[in-house]
Amino acid sequence: MQLKVLVFGPIATAAGGRTLQVVVAAPRELDAAEVMRLIAEAYPSLRPMLASSRLAINSKYALASDTVAPSDELALIGMVSGG
């Protein structure tokens, strides 16, 4: 199973693209905390930015225990700077 995670702003710049690809070796039920761990494993260069980042599932900030479905839209939201 492969998850796509949208990224923006400084994280997109650091990642060199607008989407992260996370491979899940054995398809299973994932929660948001595990997706964050998989991102850290797949993209070590992003680790310094992950501490201040949150995962959004279908355009809402997720709790660590929120379940991720294969059809969900995932986005990694780093530090924001509106205004």
Binding site: L6, F8, G9, P10, A12, T13, A56, S59, K60, Y61, A75, I77, M79, V80, S81, G82, G83
Partner: protein
């Protein structure tokens, strides 16, 4: 209540009368022409839609309820906004000034903490910096 994300600078809005209001308070965020001694030509805003729009709406509804506001109007830019132009406007109407001022302060703090919007400066005579 209105919430808008528009391409380019936020255009002026004609303030209308709000029945029962004793205060109408408007905050406008303007792109500064200088930052750390460097001349800024523009800021380029990126938004994650529709989450940004939804969260601005949620913050506006919470402000209406928490501060018993009579009206809230929010507008934010996406894309390029030149120095000196408005990139964000928050206008509230309240019965008294204190709750209107408090509402605007709380709204801006929450927006800068939670709403998925990023800006990237374009400096004069220099390449664009990373979004921040």
């Amino acid at each position: 209540m209105t919430v808008t994300i528009c391409d380019g600078p936020v255009v002026p809005r004609a303030a209308g009368a709000v029945e029962g209001a004793g205060a109408v308070i408007c905050f406008e965020g303007i792109v500064r022409p200088m930052e750390n001694g460097k001349t800024i030509e523009a800021l380029v805003y990126e938004t994650y839609d529709p989450m940004a729009q939804n969260m601005l709406g949620q913050l506006a509804r919470e402000a209406m309820e928490t501060f018993a506001l009579l009206a809230v109007h929010v507008a934010h830019s996406r894309g390029r906004v030149p120095a000196g132009a408005c990139s964000c406007r928050i206008e509230v109407a309240s019965r008294h000034r204190q709750e209107g001022i408090a509402a605007i302060t709380e709204f801006i703090d929450a927006m800068k903490r939670d709403v998925p919007i990023w800006k990237q400066p374009v400096f004069s005579g220099a390449s664009e910096e990373s979004p921040r």
